[in-house]
Symmetry: C2
Subunit: 242 residues, 2 copies
DNA sequence: CACCACACTAAACGATCGTTCAGCGCGCCG
DNA sequence: CGGCGCGCTGAACGATCGTTTAGTGTGGTG
């Protein structure tokens, strides 16, 4: 990896240092002084070049957006799947893109206009990819395409958001290439066969929601949440303890 | 909602204020003075009661863990699914549990021993639930049960982690009960039928991975290992840096 | 009443934050 | 050569941070 090439311009070195530290510690957690030390300059020079810490952040945002969306094509011109393709490429060698991926995670979690645009674009591209897959017959059409696209897109972000937990829970530190590869098959299994072996739960939930379209006081089956990790019994079963 | 009941003890009021502000702005983003103002006391009293800001955080952690795991049962005694069931109940009316859910999100994302234990426990319970489902015949057994449990568990956390984006992308603000309900069917569809209409992609990826178990120069099928969703990959956190 | 424990506060301390300021050195242009 | 722009720095400013200190009032107990 080449975090801080000495031959780069001083301004670029500061920007790269900011990108690395914002990504690792968050915007609030990375001080201008820390950034200056990493870039080998004085804190005053950081402000001199960028005007303020917030403006420096904006420039980092723009750089990452460029890197994700592709420098040469506009946001929506490429193939629908190329955002995912870009991320795939990044996955191939994690280490060299670690700073960018860290920063991307912060953009999505820290909240901000740039992060919102990035997320919305990711959802839009996922939606287009699904529509294309449905048209080609390789994917199933869901009952709520907009929501399905959001769900699929967010599921794709999980390894980014929970990298640390994923690595730790599986005996590695961080998200190694080996871990990424290990995720492939179980993920594809889930997206090919699902988890449930019968449509009983889906049908039960569907019937329950159709029966109580508004806030349901009645059926205890309001499983609303996004996870299937609810108890394996059908929606009618009550959930127990407080 | 009742954020600060006046009749509660002062100590509890401080703790509740800290929980709300830590959840909303993060640990670093919420100052002792802010917490004191919200609790209607002086900043010094916060330290007087809890010793330090970090100790206050620890008490908030413990409170939330208690609330999630259930006050009366030990962490692993209950039914395998009851952690998910608890989250289900919380999501059923998000507004009244807003502070706890926000804090839970921070615990998982901010990194810390309590958050790690929480995550690991969630994965363990998810694993147990899947094993139980497989034994009962209601779920399919995956090729990598440990990884499958991690994936399913993390997918369940998505609505929490990306609440803001989810709401915005779907035209609401935050995670409304209506939105939670709307997620139910598409999620269950995904977990029942999957996304792909044929096992072709899974089989291709399976063959490719079997052919190159170690660092693969990559199946040239552009989608090969990749599916729509896996985008991510994060950086690890090495120890050192200036 | 005397005494003390304790909830509680005002003020301040030292550290660190983002930012400003005055100035230094050096290369370029007249 | 003289001046000037500019990359760059050390020092400082004011704000805010977590925490400490010294102290006040009050209520219970001897």
């Amino acid at each position: 990896m080449a975090p801080a090439p000495v031959d780069a311009s001083t301004r670029d070195r500061i920007r790269d240092a900011a990108l690395a530290l914002f990504g690792r510690h968050g915007y609030a957690g990375a001080s201008v002084r820390d950034i200056a030390v990493r870039a080998g300059v004085s804190p005053a020079l950081v402000i001199h070049h960028f005007g303020s810490k917030e403006a420096l952040r904006a420039e980092c945002d723009a750089l990452i957006v460029d890197e994700i969306m592709g420098r040469k094509e506009s946001l929506l011109d490429g193939e629908p799947g190329d955002l995912a393709a870009t991320m795939q490429r990044w996955l191939a060698d994690v280490d060299s893109h670690r700073a960018s991926l860290d920063y991307l995670t912060r953009m999505i979690t820290d909240g901000g206009a740039a992060g919102e645009r990035l997320f919305d674009d990711l959802v839009a591209r996922t939606r287009a990819m699904i529509d294309q897959g449905v048209a080609a017959g390789t994917m199933r059409a869901g009952s709520d395409p907009a929501m399905t696209a959001v769900i699929i897109a967010t599921h794709g972000l999980v390894p980014l958001l929970l990298e640390h937990h994923l690595g730790r829970a599986l005996g590695e530190q961080g998200l190694s290439p080996a871990l990424v590869r290990r995720m492939t098959l179980p993920t594809l299994e889930l997206y090919t066969h699902g988890l449930y072996s019968s449509p009983a739960i889906l049908e039960a939930a569907s019937a329950a929601l159709a029966g109580s379209p508004e806030t349901s006081r009645g059926p205890r089956s309001d499983k609303g949440a996004g996870d299937p990790n609810q108890d394996p019994d059908p929606p009618a079963a009550p959930a127990s303890d407080p």
